[in-house]
Symmetry: C2
């Protein structure tokens, strides 16, 4: 169903429908699929079967499994647990009866191999329920658990309620019992127009593994053509959730033709889809973990160069910076400026320099220094065929190159997602040997930033991706480059480390330490820190992936994430404090980080034991 | 390209073409794809570039990477290494020059991210070549290595040759150096009509990871329409290789229109495809590892029952056996025979008994005993709606059931791929408490068989599938159920253990031991033992998965494989001896096995430490 070959730009809206106790499940299913739905949510057993389970086996369970094909059960049906189940009841016989019924229904779900079981939390305390579910998914039951809660608990709006419940807290307790297992997701019931969540609450839900939104048919209004539509506020809510991979469950009590709801959601999928360059580039990369590059010790591959070279925004900005730098060169000077592109790759910055030279009618002496022989091969070809052999190609590491003359301008693109994490400082400190004392570096400064985040998705992905040669400790002491989608940024990013070039200090020190303090405005779960950077190339010409100053449409860098091995619950109003180091030894550079508050933990990645960047 | 939506039954023939030094690779590629080819094999660098590599870097390497898109290099081009490379030369400067060139070409292959590198073995000794390749694939180079050898070495047919070379041996040495790494495959050059391999040799190649067959255009004859066709002998050869997943590489020196070769291979894909029931059922399962079921302690799921129930051959044979057994019942007897189906599942054998009862006009008292409550639920439904409540349903383990009367016939289907491996002996020994002393068991005997096999595919699949909770030792001390395709059976299967029912011995002993000896008629690599079984249900009515007596079109059981952790080289004419045990303790049953010859090894799976079948 995913390969619809639809070239039209839109978000696919996977849409299910809730059917309560259909007399004939087979024909109910067929009707739903004819109406365009992708799956149904329904009870596995008729509620009437939920009776004396503790006596006289064998109990009749309900429908026979043969009314649907195995492939239908396993692809199309989400099973709702019997709503009378209350294993956390204070009344013993209700607890026992509930447990027997729960075990039977979970067993039946496994027997039918359905993809997911849906249950609804009705009370704050769900300890027994969580234990039984966790026990079963660890024993090999192989379906998802969809835990349903209201997006906002109605008690908040009820002046008479003794206690104001937080449904996020119910969910958080439940999944914490189950150690954030990635088979357990949350399903959110959309509220009516008078009971909407705050923006911050929605943001926090976006940081959760939301499997589906329940859309009650009662939320729909009729438009001028008598067709059901959602109010603006609900459309905005759906638009927020479209950034993560949620499904929709229509819950209708009326006899209204159900086709329209599904059709309307499909329409929203088109209407609300933001089709900018960025989203086109990065679609499908959401929350995918990449290991940071080590371009100093591992040659980049052709297809990586190819992807980088496609970022027009980045190279236009570089060209603009080079333009501004060369523009200041005296027009009547007989000496041509010497521009050296260090780490030239396959030549995009060389091209930018030549473009500026052409535009300014200013001859420029261009060097391209590159240590990857396969990239040099491409540079040789371009120099011959495109650049009229005007460029001096140098196959050498910039840290050891001994040029015949010094440069006026050093141009480089050595920055990683965290600024300095691909060892731009070390490389440029080496390369400035052949920069004139009056020369400039493009870029001349870059700064890293971090922000605390909640992302259970990334927490579980790290575990899921573990290979046989890695320990649990080492995978959580490693940063990952991630296009963040399913996450909640707990507080705004703060500045961490800065580096400037050229650096004419007598003793250059690229080690750093800083302690930052963030305030948490809403109870949540801290799972790690997202890292960003910005850089100034020349004067005010800058590039940034800082969320608040992100260069529009630039796609070259995703954020970097420094994870924590155990999520930490953080209460509203408390501080998140972190110590962060950049450390080095003769052969490597690494980061260490340490949560100081709300709980003090051990230092992560000491001596770069799990992650480091090699210098050689 | 795989999803061609072609409902016609045929084998997809992935077909590449070898192009030597195309002047323009881009247009050569386009021509090939227009002619229907799926990939090309060509040199990564022009042979003329293979010159003084050891001096004056940077060397020109060849074409620039930008003549193709990254996605074209990575999907469509297999790179042939320069044929002058001879890192095993006895001449030092050739060795050094070759090594520099090899490292450059392997680096370039990685730079371009091509899917595979093709190299040809020209000499028996390839130690240095293997070491460099193994070093590189372990260092992270991420392509396949296609090692090309002739299917039969031409020296065999040359009366003047000093030495008769075995190309299989060259390949075997090479991949043994590289510890059978699954990234290394073999490519076989098809011989001409006068130099065909023996059947045994082809069988052995089928047990290798063959990536492709090279089909020289010179093998083709012209038919009456002046179109190229392959001789019958070559068609037969291709048909053998169609059982495994090989690709084809056309190698043409002539100016003949290359379209026809590809078209002809596609035609062969249709013509030679054997479309029987079995292949339809099992397609896509080839060499896929399944864990043996544990139906005694883990309830089977609905979709497993559903698959089993589709095997018409099996249930027809059962029905035939039940018919023959009931036929002997005196026609005028006033007492109806009591038939108990133990382990009734969702009722296919119950249905078979009722069918016989109907056909023979003989009333039968039917019991169905089943311990899986979800299957019992289905039986209740069928009894009510299909069987007119004639069947006595019993929700109970057959080993503890206390029936109101004794049975004349006990019908069961408790056999696994190895006969007794799902504990049929233990279950029926328990159930015979309620069988009359004159009563019969269907089945009444079953026997396991084993045969030594070579299958590098399964050897590497076991390693590839290892999960984080398993040790290397434990995964090779576990048997797997596998639809064997990419394997070579080294010698015919021999009988291992037999069990008969009912068993009225005073002390029933289901432990077993046997030592078997197989002779190896052709040098090969032993990677494990394949297990089979046959059973007699009643008199001569039997079911078998023994390769020589396999019940036609029966699909319920695949063979079982007992692996070895390290492949063992076995010379032609030597003996393969193995000791095999069936052992038990109060709560479990397990097998142990031990290679005795050609090398004596330790006992595998002692005390069932890695694999066992639980009794409770």
């Amino acid at each position: 169903m995913d390969g619809e070959g639809d070239s039209e730009k839109r978000k696919r809206m996977s849409c299910g429908i809730y059917i309560s106790c259909p007399p004939q499940i087979k024909s109910a299913l067929e009707t739903c699929f004819q109406c365009g739905y992708h799956f149904v949510v329904t009870q596995l057993t008729h509620p009437n079967y939920a009776r004396e389970l503790l006596e006289n086996p064998p109990p009749a369970i309900g429908r026979t499994d043969r009314i649907l094909k195995g492939s239908e059960w396993s692809r199309l049906v989400v099973g709702e647990l019997n709503k009378t189940i209350d294993v956390d009841s204070e009344v013993e016989h209700i607890r026992e009866q509930s447990k027997a019924l729960l075990l039977q229904e979970l067993g039946l779900a496994s027997h039918l191999s359905i993809p997911a079981v849906l249950l609804t939390l009705e009370n704050p305390v769900n300890t027994q329920l969580a234990r039984i579910i966790y026990d079963k998914i660890l024993s090999g039951y192989d379906y998802g658990i969809w835990v349903t809660v209201p997006m906002v608990h109605p008690s908040r709006f009820c002046p008479l309620a003794d206690e104001k419940h937080e449904s996020w807290q119910w969910w958080d307790d439940f999944r914490t019992y189950c150690h954030y297992d990635n088979r357990i997701g949350v399903v959110l019931e959309m509220p009516d127009i008078n009971h909407m969540p705050t923006t911050a609450e929605v943001d926090r839900w976006i940081g959760e593994p939301v499997k589906a939104l329940v859309v009650p048919a009662s939320l729909f209004l009729l438009n001028q053509y008598n067709k059901p539509v959602l109010p603006k506020a609900h459309q905005e809510l759906i638009k927020r959730f479209m950034t993560i991979d949620v499904q929709y469950i229509i819950k209708s009590d009326t006899e209204m033709d159900i086709t329209h709801y599904q059709g309307y959601l499909n329409f929203l999928g088109k209407k609300l889809y933001t089709n900018d360059t960025t989203s086109e580039f990065v679609q499908g990369c959401e929350d995918y973990l990449q290991n940071p590059l080590q371009p100093l010790t591992e040659h980049l591959e052709a297809n990586i160069y190819e992807v980088f070279e496609k970022d027009q925004v980045k190279y236009d900005t570089y060209q603009n910076a080079i333009y501004k730098a060369l523009e200041t060169w005296p027009k009547d000077s007989k000496v041509d400026p010497v521009v050296m592109v260090v780490g030239a790759g396959r030549g995009p910055l060389v091209q930018a320099v030549l473009n500026v030279s052409y535009t300014l009618h200013r001859k420029v002496k261009v060097y391209a220094v590159e240590k990857n022989p396969y990239a040099v091969n491409t540079l040789m070809d371009r120099n011959r065929n495109e650049w009229n052999s005007k460029v001096t190609l140098v196959y050498c590491d910039m840290r050891t190159y001994e040029p015949p003359e010094k440069a006026d301008i050093l141009v480089s693109e050595l920055l990683g997602s965290f600024g300095d994490n691909e060892l731009s400082p070390e490389c440029l400190d080496g390369a400035q040997r052949f920069l004139k004392k009056t020369g400039i570096s493009i870029p001349y400064i870059y700064t890293s930033f971090i922000a605390p985040i909640q992302s259970l998705k990334i927490f579980t992905e790290i575990k899921r991706n573990r290979t046989l040669d890695k320990t649990l400790q080492s995978i959580y002491e490693t940063p990952y480059v991630v296009h963040l989608a399913n996450y909640y940024q707990i507080a705004p990013p703060q500045e961490l480390f800065s580096f400037t070039h050229p650096n004419w200090s007598k003793r250059i020190n690229n080690q750093r330490y800083k302690k930052l303090s963030f305030s948490c405005s809403q109870t949540c779960v801290l799972t790690g820190f997202a890292g960003f950077f910005d850089t100034f190339l020349y004067e005010d010409v800058n590039l940034s992936i800082h969320p608040e100053t992100h260069s529009p449409d630039m796609v070259s860098w995703f954020p970097i994430v420094f994870p924590l091995q155990n999520p930490v619950h953080v209460k509203e109003g408390t501080k998140i404090e972190i110590s962060f180091w950049r450390a080095e030894s003769p052969d490597k550079v690494w980061y260490e980080w340490c949560l100081e508050s709300p709980v003090k933990q051990s230092i992560k990645n000491p001596h770069g034991r799990s992650y480091f960047i090699k210098k050689h």
